[in-house]
Amino acid sequence: MDLSYNAEYEAFRQTVISFLKAHWPVPDSAGEGAADWPRPKKEAWFRKQAIEAGFLYRGVPKEFGGAEQEADILKATIIRDEFSKRRAPMEAPGIGNMMLVPTLLECGTQAQKERFVAKTLTGEYHWAQGYSEPNAGSDLASLRTRAELVEGENGLEWSITGQKIWSTLAQYAQYMFVLARTEPDAGKHAGISYLLIDLKAPGVTIRPIKQVTGGKEFCEVFFDDARTPADWIVGERGQGWTVSKATLAHERSSIGGAQTSVGLFEKLLSLAKGVNYQGVPAIEHPVIRDRLVTLEGYVQSHLYSSYRQLSMAAAKQNPGRITLMNKLINTNIGHMVADLAKDLIGDAALTMPPIKGRAEGHEKWLNQFFGSLGVAIAGGTSNIQRNIIAERGFDLPRDDAQE
């Protein structure tokens, strides 16, 4: 056990720092009028440099636009620390990098990888997820959106018909990965294929859903004979369920980032230092101090547990059932943060934060208050997580479910 940074890693940290000084904020030398580039262009340029330097997408092969570096937790930690200190962009956020890229790398064809991976890494391509349906939530495999191969203008095409829901930011995405039933005569799981589609295709209608926060981050997506090329299938026909399992595992682990919990706790601590509670500075009130340390016990457990898991993964050991628990642990911490924040912000809870732009006051914590409820549902609800822990972690028998 050794958490220290030796000379090699200190040197690596210096390399990262000098890289950041030279590349973020984007220097004028980056190109014509660089100072006035829109934010996405600046980020795309920066990510390209950071990939070349070996700092972003370290696990993605160079062939597909990644940095292809040997896995090294400490280097990854140093990069994350230094990038966040300088507020430099990390991996492009969104479902594309969290779920689609790992899936394509694992199950995609050479042509699919070449076409989609690099531009998703830089943030040029945005993806939407086409999994859930109005009647297929936790029981995802009961989905009914169907696809069949038909002769189209450009040869064989998939014709997709059906409805998806809860597609995050689909209104801004260019592409979607869709689970559709292609083998109507096969069993529940065996009839599903994993398809990619251009959301600009005729027959696709996207309708944003107004959510509890008033914002519109989710969409309904309707397919009415929408077409996509025959070779935009990932994995074989009828293998979509297996392919999607690979992706859900990626989503669970990415949502489970302990560092997020640490960051959240630090923000909560700053809040407690800046507000009054029952007439005294909150941070001096014994009840608040007790609740903060109680919460910190969970947060630090999660953090050091993640150190252990990363160390085990790097040593090619299996961390065991803890990997099934990370999402629920993170979700629970999110709830506890929301609960304490709600008590700290007092009357600011009576006014909603603006849907766009930054809130001026502490009402911005309502985003955590509501958002933590969303996290508890997305990517497998907390009760589904509990089933998974009990059934896969403890080997308890599955509930009777109708096939």
């Binding site: 457990s301 252990r308 160390s311 009990a390 080997d395 308890l396 028998p397 599955r398």
Partner: protein
């Protein structure tokens, strides 16, 4: 950077685990807790044979000179078995001598403590408080009392925490020392009260605030480690029961209510290992963070252990409420861990203060 136990550490942990699986299985455990007045000689001798009391003793005094983490992972293993025995008090006595003893005292006692030829214990609690002792010498002798001293009746020497962060050493044969067993909750680690009437004691001359803090941190870390082991076992027992007990024509582990209860317990417990590991690591390698991490680990792990032990009793149904079901031993051990050296809320307060919030 690597946050893992070494092959050597895993091996010693595994050796102790296998020893306890054989020597502290249910019937033996039940026999031990029915006779808390007796020293569990077989278990203690086994730990001595495996070198456990020697782990943290410096090599120059006949020990193995290892870091506290090595002892903590054994404490976890003992917690997993709810193994009766004096290791906690013995380790605190040893640590106090290492940190505050004179060269002469160390030469005299540490080899005996390392080899198990002498049994040590540690006296901290005074009515209602665990540290910031008020007991002080009058001249060269001691008058007053201490409570909750583990295995005091069997100890050859006891280190006593005194006012102003001083430690003193009292031997079994000292005149003016009387020992009364307490009717303890946790029979796997029985306690006794000490009374001193003009009792002759020997000061540990290198006593200091820092030494006192380190002995306290040692206790907190060992309790946290024991709690991780115990809480893990409570879950294993509840899961085993869920797999064997049948009602309504199926094993009860198929019912979602129980599955979710067990999952919630696991989500509490599994990540805690990292927190106690880090507290032990900080003791050895990050001294500036050590006191706070020890306080945080004690508060979190002992409190969660107690919670999970209660849940595990519930998961066992009626049988869980009986004396003969082992889960009660763990429940009571969790109560000990919770209270010994200060309740979780006290250590949370310390953790907040130590962070200078």
């Amino acid at each position: 950077m690597e946050f893992l136990l070494s092959a050597e550490q895993l091996e010693i942990q595994d050796t102790v685990k296998r020893f306890l699986a054989k020597n502290c299985e249910s019937t033996k455990l039940q026999r031990y807790i029915d006779e808390p007045q007796n020293l569990p000689t077989d278990i203690w001798q086994g730990l001595i044979d495996m070198g456990v009391p020697a782990l943290i003793v410096p090599e120059e005094f006949g020990g193995l000179g290892m870091e506290l983490l090595n002892l903590a992972i054994i404490a976890e293993t003992l917690g997993y078995a709810a193994a009766p025995g004096p290791l906690l008090g013995h380790s605190l006595c040893t640590q106090a001598l290492i940190l505050a003893g004179s060269q002469q005292q160390k030469e005299k006692w540490l080899p005996l403590l390392a080899s198990g030829e002498a049994l040590g214990s540690f006296a901290s609690a005074e009515t209602g408080q665990w540290f910031g002792a008020e007991l002080a010498l009058t001249g060269n002798s001691l008058n007053g009392s201490k409570q909750h001293v583990p295995y005091a009746e069997h100890a050859d020497l006891i280190v006593i925490a005194l006012a102003d962060n001083q430690f003193a050493l009292v031997e079994k044969s000292a005149s003016g020392l009387s020992i009364s067993p307490e009717d303890v909750t946790d029979r796997s680690r029985p306690l006794a009260s000490l009374n001193f009437a003009n009792c002759a004691v020997e000061l540990l001359p290198n006593s200091s605030t820092e030494a006192a803090e380190k002995v306290l941190n040692t206790a907190l870390i060992l309790l946290a480690a024991d709690s991780f082991g115990g809480a893990s076992r409570a879950i294993d027992m509840a899961v085993d029961y869920a797999k064997t007990r049948e009602q309504f024509g199926q094993i009860i582990g198929k019912f979602q209510a129980l599955k979710h209860q067990l999952a919630n317990m696991a989500v509490d417990v599994e990540p805690m290992r990292g927190l106690y590991w880090h507290a032990a690591y900080a003791f050895d390698r990050e001294p500036e963070a050590s006191s706070r991490q020890a306080a945080l680990a004690k508060a979190h792990l002992c409190e969660r252990y107690l919670h999970v032990a209660r849940e595990a009793v519930q998961a066992h149904g009626g049988i869980g409420y009986t004396w003969e079901c082992d889960i009660q031993v763990f429940l009571k051990r969790a109560l000990f861990n919770n209270a010994y050296m200060g309740a979780p809320a006290l250590h949370r307060k310390r953790a907040a203060d130590l962070a200078a919030w």
